[in-house]
């Protein structure tokens, strides 16, 4: 009984925290940084893509910041990942980020940080990260780095 209450409480806590984290996420993007940039071009009219990308980028920034602090060690071990920014000393966010990673390990999905304990494998000159049975291909998306979940290469 106690245990199930505890479990319920911890689930509620995680939910609450993830809500809090969502509120803290950067939702905007959308700040023009050039007068003559994309807005001129048709590509940017399909800029739904760009706008979405920006939003994701901003969210990334936040997740990176959180994860940097908490998962530093892991992160450094495989390939010296350092997402930039710094330092919301906030354990709760790592819980949320970790949850996101676990649920995102579907082939074709992208994550912004790797789970712990991955190893670098080079296949055909390109870098992969093997984390347990899941393979990630680091990619630049715009100027951000992300990890695309892929089928095992070779």
């Amino acid at each position: 009984m106690n245990r199930s209450i505890q479990k319920l409480l911890s689930i509620t806590l995680v939910l609450l925290l993830s809500c809090a984290s969502m509120f803290a996420q950067r939702g905007g993007g959308g700040t023009r940084t050039s007068v003559n940039g994309n807005a001129n071009r048709n590509t940017n009219v399909n800029s739904n893509k760009n706008v979405n990308a920006n939003i994701n980028h901003n969210v990334n920034a936040n997740v990176n910041r959180n994860v940097n602090v908490n998962v530093h060690n892991d992160v450094y071990v495989h390939g010296g990942y350092y997402g930039g920014g710094c330092c919301y000393h906030n354990n709760t966010a790592a819980v949320v980020a970790a949850t996101a990673i676990v649920t995102a390990a579907v082939i074709g999905s992208r994550v912004n940080t790797l789970p712990p304990a991955c190893s670098v494998v080079i296949v055909n000159g390109f870098t992969y990260q093997q984390c347990g049975s899941t393979w990630y291909q680091p990619q630049f998306v715009g100027t951000s780095t992300t990890y695309l979940v892929v089928a095992a290469p070779r």
Partner: protein, 263 residues
């Protein structure tokens, strides 16, 4: 006969001028031709620069979901040798990136992550800018410096233009101008004298209710010293080669990411 013709010409030209007034007069009234001329002069001058080095100390607002703006800082250092060599370094609160373009290849390198990606590049800086934007969704930093004075600049979008008067930037006499175009208000400080360079730029995104801002403070070196190695990427120890995702592959992945991360 002659009189009638003259009369009808007079009526015609009168009605034409009425039409002109009703359609374009209100628009033109908001555009100071001198401000547009100053912008064009700057653009023409920028097009004459063969090699240049420019540093931008800049700020960009991020908009939180609640509409609050958070300002982030960044520095861009850019070295360009027209027509086909460029190097740029982006240092911001969020990332560090180096761009290399040697006329054959383009490389993006993340020093902190120690990842790089190289793709074949077109023959000129202008074409590279378009390719990076259209194919990879990568914005060339300080892209305006390459666009002003070219046919693809946004001069045609300007709806308001005013001369806001003299203003000093880093001790240099400038003239400040303010422009409006759909979705964007922007101000520019153009150096007075023989070198009409942009020295400061402030953009306000007006189609976002938070009206986020971006600013650039520009310092120029018109006689940079460099060698060819500056434009070619030489992977440091441990640097790992990765791919650049094309825009066409983003959308698919994104939807999956969304579901993934919201769970």
């Amino acid at each position: 006969m002659c009189k009638r013709l003259l009369c009808s010409i007079a009526i015609l030209s009168f009605s034409l001028s009425l039409m002109a007034q009703s359609s374009s007069a209100p628009k033109n009234a908001d555009i100071d031709p001198a401000a547009v001329a100053a912008l064009n002069k700057m653009g023409t001058y920028l097009r004459t620069l063969g090699t240049f080095q420019v540093k931008s100390v800049q700020t960009t607002d991020d908009v939180l979901e609640n509409g609050q703006t958070i300002q982030t800082n960044g520095v861009i250092e850019l070295l360009a040798a027209r027509p086909n060599r460029l190097r740029a370094e982006i240092t911001s609160d969020e990332l560090h990136r180096l761009f290399f373009y040697d006329g054959k290849n383009f490389t993006i390198y993340g020093q902190l992550v120690n990842y790089y990606a190289t793709v074949p590049a077109p023959a000129t800086i202008g074409e590279l800018i378009d390719k990076l934007d259209e194919k990879y969704g990568i914005d060339m930093p300080l892209v305006d410096l390459f666009k002003w004075g070219s046919q693809s600049d946004s001069a045609k979008d300007i709806t308001d233009a005013i001369d806001a008067g003299p203003s000093s930037i880093d001790g240099t006499s400038c003239e400040q101008y303010a422009f409006r175009q759909p979705g964007l208000d922007w101000q520019i400080w153009i150096q007075l004298g023989d070198y009409p360079l942009p020295r400061k730029l402030v953009l306000t995104t007006t189609d976002n209710s938070a009206r986020p801002r971006h600013s650039q403070l520009l310092t120029w070196n018109l006689a940079p010293s460099f060698n060819d190695a500056a434009f070619t990427f030489d992977p440091p120890d441990g640097a790992q080669k990765i791919a650049i995702a094309e825009i066409k592959d983003w959308a698919n992945d994104q939807s999956q990411t969304k579901t993934g991360s919201s769970k």
